[in-house]
């Protein structure tokens, strides 16, 4: 069942992105930045975790989850160490995504040429 909900929720988040690009004529960069902020706000309101419980990868794979993870890391550390935790905790959970993207992209630049 989680597979079906992952499909539907993930697909719908992409549709929101498509509507922002086609309807509001936003650039991809504006669209992605907006979706990340939306994900962050939803987690601030405590809603995003419920979406993940419900839809699994449908909520963790779209870029909105990046905003969710940033806030999640910040708040978890804030609970432990207070105000300073907001700063130290921001990248705690997202580290995997950012590090992987940097490392693999660099390796790709070593190996590949643009194909056109």
């Amino acid at each position: 069942m989680i597979f079906l909900w992952a499909f539907i929720v993930g697909g719908l988040i992409c549709v929101v992105g498509q509507l922002m690009m086609d309807g509001l004529k936003l650039t991809p960069a504006h669209t992605m930045a907006t979706l990340v902020v939306v994900g962050a706000v939803l987690d601030g309101l405590g809603l995003y975790e419920r979406l993940i419980d419900f839809a699994g990868a449908g909520a963790t794979v779209p870029i909105t989850s990046f905003g969710n993870q940033l806030v999640h890391g910040a708040l978890a550390e804030a609970d432990r160490t207070g105000l300073i935790g907001v700063i130290t905790g921001i990248f705690q959970i997202t580290s995997a995504g950012i590090s992987a993207a940097i490392i693999f992209s660099f390796l790709a630049a070593l190996v590949f040429k643009p194909k056109g």
Binding site: M21, K25, P28, K113, P114, K115, G116
Partner: protein, 335 residues
């Protein structure tokens, strides 16, 4: 001879002695493949960067042109040219190789006709041989103006594809029956279009303005021409231009009003609304169109190359897109 505010008539009727066009892989698959002088099946044109690839297209278009006329770069008085890469390095680096005195131009995709009209002017002043040439490269220009070519962005149906091509023409006082007889230099026109993926709509009013000014300055009309050819308006820009002509009280026959951007690709899915780029009009006019004039298909044509004078910076600062168009009359005289 200077005619009015925007137009020249070349009394000595300088000739286009020869021309050369060198293209990349996608263009080589298109309908004009039999007209091109040299084709590469590799987007890198055997170079190690796309910028160098574009420089090589320019160089080779010039050398092909000179070879056909049986002259060397030392015989050429001046080279007029430009491109879309920052500081037109593509063209100036090619001039470094060629060693021809160089006038660097920037008129975006209108540069081909800007160069041709200036070449005719200089030949009229007594120069023996003058080259006019432009080039563009799909990947180098996408990188400059839009996104990296491997970046997955969805292009709207109004988008156009930059051609990978270099084209040059050699102008001389005598030597052929193809003459450059008149030109009209455009004003910068901005009708407030802001979408950088809709160049056709941005450039169409510049083309209309220049062509109407040309008709007025020479007291002529479209009936005088066998073909009125715009540079790279694409499907969208061409349709808008036809309608804008109608609103200005001029109805152009559809068949007579053609666009270079619609001639290079036939079913390239990435091309969307058509081809564009500084090399676009040069690649079409300096190959297919000149060949067809020599064969007698056209006697007198008006080529109006259009250019969008934006940069990524002006787009990000939310400025609208100013555009320009230059028109040149090319005629076949005698038998």
């Amino acid at each position: 001879m200077y005619i009015s505010k925007q137009s020249f008539r070349y009394e000595s009727e300088p000739c286009i002695v020869s021309s050369g066009v060198v293209v990349g892989p996608t263009e080589a698959k298109g309908p004009l493949k039999d007209h091109f002088d040299k084709m590469y099946d590799d987007l890198w044109i055997n170079e190690d960067s796309f910028e160098k690839a574009q420089k090589k297209l320019m160089e080779e278009a010039c050398t092909e042109t000179l070879t056909k006329a049986n002259i060397t770069p030392e015989d050429v008085a001046f080279l007029f040219g430009g491109d879309l890469i920052n500081q037109i390095t593509g063209t100036s680096f090619a001039s470094r190789t060629l060693g021809i005195p160089f006038f660097g131009l920037f008129g975006a995709c209108s540069t081909s006709m800007e160069a041709l009209s200036l070449a005719a002017m200089v030949v009229e002043q007594g120069a023996p041989y003058v080259l006019a040439g432009t080039a563009s490269h799909y990947a180098a220009i996408e990188k400059q103006f839009r996104y990296p070519i491997e970046y997955g962005s969805q292009r709207p149906p109004t988008a156009q594809r930059t051609v990978t091509a270099g084209g040059a023409a050699l102008v001389a006082p005598t030597g052929s029956n193809i003459h450059v007889t008149k030109s009209t230099i455009g004003k910068v026109i901005d009708n407030g279009i802001k979408d950088p993926f809709n160049m056709g709509a941005a450039m169409a009013p510049a083309a209309v303005d220049t062509i109407l000014t040309h008709f007025k300055d020479f007291q002529t009309s479209e009936e005088d021409y066998d073909l009125i050819l715009t540079g790279d308006l694409g499907q969208v820009g061409r349709s808008i231009a036809l309608e804008w002509f109608r609103q200005k009280g001029v109805t152009l026959p559809e068949g007579k009003f053609q666009d270079c951007g619609l001639m290079i690709y036939d079913d390239e899915p990435e091309a969307m609304a058509g081809a564009s780029g500084t090399g676009c009009s040069a690649a079409v006019v300096f190959s297919k169109i000149l060949h067809e004039m020599q064969q007698g298909k056209y006697k007198k044509i008006l080529v109006c190359a259009t250019g969008a004078l934006l940069s990524p910076l002006t787009f990000q600062q939310k400025e609208s897109i100013p555009c320009i168009a230059h028109a040149v009359v090319i005629e076949r005289k005698g038998a």
